[in-house]
């Protein structure tokens, strides 16, 4: 405790004298960047999951062809999950004599558990969200049903043997857009009214679903319990099985943010290492004195360890507080996108911040501090007596371990972390080599320059190891900053390009093949930009390499679904630029009529297929044996018709099927209603709302990325401060000597400006080259297209020259102000 008291006193005194400021600042910024981004990434992850949940209208669904046992709902509630049930069936709904085959959906209070219902008073009007469901005796038909049966709010509909009053028009429900198999329009009624419709009779085809929402732990507990009780006809669908269309942009944003925060942490780590080095150099005398006054090595060590721990505690408290405030601010930015019922912030990121602070300090500051304890007391009499130098492993290993831990902890991906570390390591080596070379070159030309320049360049050469260290530090910092800036622009361009303003907002399904041209013409009359028209054929996968799928076991839930259920198949002449062949070949003229099929990579992975595998599909009782000819990566977010399974042209042409297409159009509600009346069989899906949501996500993610950049810049600045602080004392002495010898302030200023500007320029040149290489590699890991940006590189070099030159000179200008007498005597 004696050592703690001493450490506390020393901290207070050193804080007052500003000795530790840069160390504190760097550490706080590192922790703030990590915790702030940690919160955000966590919440983006939640948001992505929630969006996927909305497609299910729940976090987890149990679906069945038979009534689901009441015990399941009871168990779910007991586990703390909120629940709701949904019963749906196909039935004809009447308005007078007019009738339409409709998906009748009986819901109870709480539906939907995720996402929301949008309602309006007219078909195809803009919807308003509601938390209500139809009251007893009420029905909410969707726009298509209302238009097809010419019914409006205030009218009535007959469902089974019961009349319902239409009180709202259903514009959208969360669980409508996941697949396009629900071809019929829908009507929502209250579950309490279902019995009175007498729709449920022996033999009628009814789908029962139990919807659940809650925490991952509760959901896992339910899944676990359900495994042991589930009946053969029950299927469980979770978030992981939901639509692949959503979330790409968000996931990339999360990864980019993690990288950005890591760059801040690395910059801070370099600043911490530099501060620790200069701290140690300045404290050699103090430690020698303490030993002379009787302090044991153990006491010196204990005091230093306490200081380290205290520093980590305070810096992580400050950093976590800043991170927490940042997170509050980011949540404000992301309001509307993130749900208000997200779990509150936990202490975990703060704890993580402390762990990271301790790790960084232990790795980067502890080895030099340990070395400090080995300073001999004799130094009080003999200035040249220093501590024995640290072995390379003792200095390097903790740094490597600490950085590896932090990098892996942040990225959570072993391969990416290893590459990142290897990249940074290679950059340091290359920077050090180039830096040494450049410093040597500079010292060669110094004889041709004027006095101030000569002295500036001489400084660079004389403090060679410090100069090279600074060039490496700035160069690395700038490389990371520039690479990040390049990537940020790429990311934003890429995101915005994903969803241009005229991306299709309507899907049209179930277009009869004989009315296909009429429909396309009608759409064009409405001013629509039609994407492509593809056939939709219902079929079932029955054999894989002659083995019946019914006898096969699939680990993957989606794979099981592919094998068990009827699915949409298509054929096409060409795949379009939103499909990329990753194996095999695109269709050629020679493939026409051949028994070949192209599969999406999701289909391949779910079923474990490879090129050349033989598949047998059953289409309306007819068997088709086909060979897998290619695999495609599909950009599902292109919002164009796309299929997991696409046959070669000429094989399925004769098969009865319908067509689907997507288009961008902004129709009036009346025009849409007319379209439905002209083509009553066509199913229309408005994905405009979903698109608006995805666009909002992107815009908000861009803001989030920019805000995290502030941390990175702040980290760069502390690095500069640390570098200047490191050589301050030496400069103080040299400047005093120069002034005694007759140098004026102007000459000293110029020489310092030359020195810092040269360091800045050299670091800038190296960073411009390094960032382009690093950016290209990082772009690949983030699935971005890399564009070389020479203006940004040039800006980096000039900016580095100006900023390092000016900031270095400003920060050391006090050196010239101190009277030589004070320094020399």
């Amino acid at each position: 405790m004696h050592s703690l008291r001493l450490a506390l006193r020393a901290m207070r005194r050193e804080w007052r004298s500003g000795e530790l400021a840069v160390l504190w600042l760097s550490l706080s910024i590192a922790v703030a960047a990590l915790t702030g981004v940690g919160f955000l990434v966590d919440r983006i992850g939640h948001a992505v999951n929630l969006q996927a949940s909305e497609v299910l209208a729940a976090d987890l669904r149990v679906e069945s062809d038979a009534p689901i046992a009441a015990t399941e709902q009871a168990q779910a509630r007991q586990l703390g999950l909120s629940t709701s049930s949904l019963i749906s069936m196909l039935s004809s709904v009447f308005n007078g004599d007019a009738n339409q085959l409709t998906n009748v959906r009986a819901v109870d209070a709480g539906y939907p558990l995720r996402g929301q219902l949008l309602i309006a008073d007219h078909p195809f009007a803009a919807g308003k969200p509601t938390r209500d469901i139809p009251a007893a005796g009420e029905a909410w038909p969707d726009s298509r049903l209302a238009a097809a049966l010419s019914v409006n709010v205030g009218g009535s509909l007959t469902v089974g043997s019961r009349d319902f009053k239409v009180t709202r028009i259903l514009i959208s429900r969360p669980d409508q857009s996941s697949t396009f198999v629900e071809l019929a329009p829908a009507v929502l009624i209250n579950a309490a009214d279902l019995e009175s419709t007498r729709l449920i009779q022996p033999g009628s085809r009814v789908e029962y679903a139990l919807l659940m929402a809650g925490s991952t732990r509760e959901l896992d507990a339910f899944r676990h319990w359900h495994e042991s009780v589930k009946s053969a006809h029950e299927r469980v669908a979770g978030v992981a099985d939901a639509s692949p269309q959503i979330g790409d942009a968000s996931r990339r944003a999360a990864r980019f943010l993690a990288l950005a925060s890591l760059v801040s942490v690395l910059l801070c780590a370099v600043a911490i290492a530099m501060s620790a080095r200069s701290y140690v150099r300045r404290h050699l005398d103090v430690v020698a004195l303490m030993k002379t006054l009787g302090a044991s090595r153990g006491l010196v060590l204990a005091v230093n360890l306490w200081q380290l721990l205290l520093m980590a505690a305070v810096a992580s408290a400050v950093g976590a507080a800043v991170g927490w405030v940042t997170q509050l601010w980011l949540v404000r930015i992301l309001q509307g996108f993130l749900r208000s019922d997200l779990p509150p912030a936990t202490a975990w990121p703060a704890l993580l911040g402390f762990i990271v602070a301790v790790a960084i300090l232990s790795g980067l500051a502890l080895p030099p501090l340990l070395q400090l304890t080995r300073v001999p007391a004799l130094r009080v009499l003999r200035r040249d007596a220093g501590a024995p130098p640290l072995a390379l492993w003792a200095a390097g290993l903790p740094v490597l371990l600490a950085l590896a831990g932090v990098v892996y902890g942040t990225l959570g991906d072993l391969r990416l972390s290893a590459w990142f570390l290897a990249g940074v390591g290679a950059a340091v080596i290359v920077l050090a080599l180039c830096g040494t070379l450049l410093v040597r070159l500079a010292s060669r030309v110094r004889s041709t320059a004027g006095a101030a320049w000569r002295y500036g360049i001489a400084n660079l050469a004389r403090r060679r190891s410090e100069s090279v260290t600074q060039i490496v530090a700035f160069g690395l910092g700038l490389t990371l900053l520039l690479a990040l800036a390049i990537l940020r622009d790429d990311l934003i361009v890429d995101w915005r390009a994903t969803l241009p303003a005229d991306v299709p907002n309507y899907f049209f399904v179930n277009i009869a093949s004989d009315r296909r041209d009429d429909f396309e013409r009608e759409l064009q009359l409405l001013g629509a930009q039609v994407t492509r028209m593809l056939p939709v054929i219902r079929g079932r996968l029955v054999d894989i390499n002659d083995q019946p799928t019914s006898e096969m076991q699939f680990q993957d839930q989606r794979g099981r679904r592919f094998a068990e259920r009827e699915q949409n198949l298509s054929w096409a002449e060409d795949f379009g630029d939103d499909n990329r062949i990753v194996a095999g070949h695109a269709w050629t003229a020679a493939d026409r009529g051949k028994a070949l099929v192209s599969l999406s990579v999701e289909y391949r992975d779910s079923l474990g297929l490879k090129l050349g595998d033989r598949l047998r599909f059953d289409v309306a009782g007819e068997s088709f044996n086909v060979t897998v000819a290619s695999f495609r990566e599909v950009k599902w977010d292109s919002f164009r018709p796309n299929f997991f399974v696409v046959f070669a042209p000429g094989l399925l042409d004769a098969t009865a099927g319908t067509y689907m297409t997507s288009a961008f159009l902004q129709p009036s509600a009346g025009a849409m209603a007319r379209l439905v009346q002209h083509f009553p069989g066509v199913s229309i899906f408005n994905v405009g709302d979903l698109l608006a949501q995805v666009r909002a996500v992107i815009d908000k993610a861009v803001t989030a990325v920019q805000s995290v950049f502030v941390f990175t810049l702040a980290a760069g600045l502390t690095l500069l401060l640390a570098a200047v602080q490191a050589s301050r004392e030496e400069r103080l002495y040299e400047t005093a000597v120069l002034r005694v010898l007759g140098a004026n302030r102007r000459m000293i200023f110029t020489s310092m400006l030359v020195e810092f500007a040269l360091i800045g320029a050299l670091a800038g040149v190296l960073a411009a080259v390094g960032s382009s290489a690093g950016g290209a590699w990082l772009a690949r890991s983030l699935d971005l297209k890399f564009r070389f940006d020479w203006t940004l590189s040039l800006l980096g070099v000039i900016g580095s020259l100006l900023i390092v030159g000016a900031a270095g000179t400003i920060a050391t200008r006090s050196v010239v102000r101190v009277p030589p007498r004070t320094v020399l005597y």
Partner: protein, 231 residues
Amino acid sequence: MCKEVSSPEGPLTIVREVSFAVARGESVALVGPSGAGKSTLLALLAGLDLPTTGDVILAGQTLTAMNEDGRARVRAQHVGFVFQSFHLVPSLTALENVMLPLELAGASDARSRAADVLAGVGLGKRLGHYARQLSGGEQQRVALARATVARPAVLFADEPTGNLDTVTGERIARLLFELNSGETTLVLVTHDHSLAERCARVLTMDAGTLLGGSNDTTTTASPADSRATHA
């Protein structure tokens, strides 16, 4: 004892067969030309360095048989130090510099004791000043206060007036001997003859040896003695 160091030209003997004893309360000046080995001898006497051969016994304890921490403990209990370049900690105020040895020893009344001693050297009104805000003489007075605040049995001083003008040096010398008027043993290295002459005994060093038969092995072995003897 002897002290040898290695150099590019081979081993170099800095202190050669030196043996003497200093009695409690005695004042001894080590004089001699630059490079004679005075400061090295002082470092050996205070246990800051170890002789190549021979023993150093301080306050009845054999420093040469102890490890670094053991020697530090002996210094904490018995030794004070004054340096030519003062060695004040720049981030600490005058008061905090003087408190340092007491704090290291875990004393609870460090602040009041340090303030008293500083008042005693005439710096009662400059407690909150940092080293850079003090003149050379004032800095050395702070260093003196720091060296004596724990009431050490032995005070080592390395050129205590070396960085000061004559008048200030004289003032510091006077203070040094006032503080030494009690039972404190004083061993100082100096070039200043007037300072050396104030000491009870003057030992002259040249080329690592003590000149003029000053070697003295016939002192009493009281516990507070500081003495160096042949191995």
